[in-house]
Symmetry: C2
Subunit: 136 residues, 2 copies
DNA sequence: AGGCTTTTGGTACTTTAGTATGAAGCCCGT
DNA sequence: ACGGGCTTCATACTAAAGTACCAAAAGCCT
């Protein structure tokens, strides 16, 4: 937001400067106005692209960001979330246990709790739900 | 690609038209040049935003596009691909069987073949591999 | 028509996943 | 210090997933 205002201020400033240049060139006489206009066109063209890129990058990143609020709402604990990430990576319970230095029983407990909290019947469904909920 | 060329052609045309208008206004006399310049600036600003939006939408969709070539390379058949999609949706073998009007045995066969072709040990891993390979 | 791949299905078995229940240790706030 | 949530682990199941191997019908391609 602040950046947008800043860029817009610079835009107005540039417009004013270009006014000054155009007036100056008129007083000089037969300075090629086409050149000035082309320069203005290119500058505003680039500025338009730049501003648009800035405004479009935000929603692009937003879709990739994870909803930490949602995780809290679902009461998913940090350990459970670690397991969830491991599941989405395609690991088995045994592999997750080895990765986190835990027993397979513990992983099974976490997975079971995750399935309840995510309202899923299987780990694959849990991953799918987590992704649509922007948790993963 | 064709659209970009079209827009660019329109851009050049607009530039030429604006040249004509600017020259005409000079012959007229003291027509406010600031207005013309502002108009040019606004037009190119908008065109800049428009072109940028068009060019940015493509890579956004490109990341979501699936690599059909890769599917062929991995020798994944159409039926197997349907099963793969169902797996990523979080369905069980039984649910997939019901969805595709097949027996669970058939689904198991397809899944087994998929795991070999995707070099995965589990269905969850298969989904993960398929997504990194841009098959899903 | 014969050969090929795909698709379908089965049996029998092993492995992994998931449920239910209980329990112990830990940390944190009151 | 006590209660409560988190984490850890275990046992004993049931259910689902996956493997191996086989086999038949269907669809192509030449």
């Amino acid at each position: 937001m602040k950046k947008t205002i800043l860029v817009f201020a610079l835009l107005v400033l540039a417009l004013y400067t270009l006014f000054r240049i155009s007036k100056y060139s008129l007083f000089i006489g037969d300075t090629p106005i086409e050149l000035i206009i082309t320069a203005i066109a290119i500058v505003f063209f680039i500025v338009g692209i730049y501003i648009n890129k800035k405004s479009l990058q935000k929603p692009q990143q937003a879709t990739k960001e994870i909803d930490h609020q949602k995780i809290k709402e679902l009461e998913i604990t940090s350990r459970e979330y670690e397991v969830l990430q491991a599941i989405s990576a395609g690991l088995s319970n045994k592999e997750i246990a080895e990765k986190l230095f835990l027993s397979e029983s513990t992983i099974k407990t976490h997975v079971s709790n995750l399935l309840v909290k995510l309202n899923a019947k299987r780990r694959t469904q849990a991953v799918q739900i987590a992704k649509t909920q922007k948790i993963l």
